[in-house]
């Protein structure tokens, strides 16, 4: 049978590779209020939206910042940053929120920022082939991510985060644990993203549920 800790960590690791929006490597300029581009591309088309956390790369300062406004050629961030002249080899990327409430780990909720919670939910466990010793065991379960966004910033950020996770866990995706067991995103019932649920305190949350299954070899103790 698959080790639960292996499966949980594998799903988490795969989730953290999610890219929600990205420019790719290109020429970008940093202003005191954000970033600009001069090519024919569009930050909007690339998926950037107010309420997302943007991670710069290739600049002198690569501090993660909260996006407050987006046009085709400009991203405005919360607060200020150091201006940097136009340069090539740079990128802007949105990953899952940096603040993460992982299972049974200490977490301090940000005062006014995005954060992530997770659940690993084992479900069924059944022997599928005989004999029992050496037969196939099929296990199923869910991996659930709750993405909290601080608003009001509109719907694009949370839907964007949810879509990023849905793409990362596309039906049939294989996720390999450190021991070589393989979990797969189910194809008969696949990833579901909830509605955006508004909460009382300025946050809204979207829940993405990933159903998985795995087949391993059963071993009956002597």
């Amino acid at each position: 049978m698959i080790r639960r800790s292996d499966a949980h960590l594998a799903m988490r690791s795969h989730a953290l590779q999610t890219v929600v929006a990205e420019t790719g490597t290109m020429t970008l300029t940093a202003t005191t209020t954000g970033f600009t581009r001069a090519d024919a591309g569009s930050f909007i088309s690339d998926g950037f939206a107010p309420g997302m956390e943007v991670t710069p790369a290739g600049f002198t300062s690569n501090t993660v910042a909260m996006i407050t406004a987006v046009t085709a050629s400009a991203i405005t961030i919360k607060g200020t940053r150091a201006a940097e002249a136009s340069g090539a080899g740079r990128s802007l990327t949105v990953y899952l929120p940096a603040a993460r409430a992982f299972s049974n780990e200490r977490f301090e909720k940000p005062k006014q920022g995005n954060y992530l919670e997770e659940d690993f939910v084992p479900a069924t466990n059944a022997l599928k082939t005989l004999p029992a010793d050496g037969g196939d065991v099929e296990e199923t379960g869910l991996y659930v991510l709750r993405i909290f966004g601080y608003g009001p910033v509109g719907l694009l950020a949370l839907h964007g985060y949810a879509d990023g996770v849905r793409e990362q866990f596309a039906p049939g995706t294989a996720i390999t644990t450190t021991r070589g067991d393989v979990l797969r995103v189910r194809t008969d019932t696949s990833v579901i993203a909830s509605e955006i649920l508004p909460l009382d305190t300025g946050w809204s949350v979207v829940t993405v549920t990933v159903p998985w299954w795995a087949r391993t070899v059963n071993a009956v103790a002597a």
Partner: protein
């Protein structure tokens, strides 16, 4: 008995069995969400457990009892709740944004998602029970067909 008669009987039996599986599966979906199920892995709905120092005098079970099953027609059923806080329990969030902590010693989260994910198991099990291949105590299909 002629071939035609046999075929007619078979078609009628098949139709009856299909309807029976559908109705029983719909009931099993409700049961899975409400009470949990070993077939789907759903935990069922938590039940508020109140007493001295915590909502004293209140009685739990409102959310669990709120889940209903409605047979719409011979092909459709609906399992639903009208409790406004049902999504909160399903997803594991609180309206105030504080961490969700389950006080109930029964039930859990994600019962709807687990039931949806376990739908084919529900159907397979109900079909097996109809054919007499299931243990009536557990609802599990028996390997020996008994």
């Amino acid at each position: 008995m002629t071939w035609d008669t046999d075929l007619t009987h078979f078609i009628v039996k098949l139709d009856e069995d299909a309807k029976a599986v559908f109705v029983n599966a719909a009931a099993a979906v409700q049961d899975s969400i409400q009470n949990g199920s070993v077939i789907t892995g759903a935990r069922g709905q938590p039940v508020g457990q109140y007493g001295p120092g915590y909502h004293e005098g209140e009685v739990g079970g409102t959310l669990k009892a709120s889940w209903q099953m409605e047979l719409i027609d011979e092909d459709h059923a609906r399992v639903y709740t009208n409790e406004v806080y049902a999504p909160m329990n399903e997803y594991g969030v609180r309206p105030d944004g504080l961490p969700y902590r389950q006080r109930s010693t029964v039930g859990g989260r994600h019962s709807v998602a687990l039931t949806i994910a376990g739908w084919q198991n529900i159907v397979n099990n109900e079909a097996a029970k109809l054919q007499g291949f299931a243990d009536s105590r557990t609802g599990y299909a028996n390997e020996d067909g008994g």
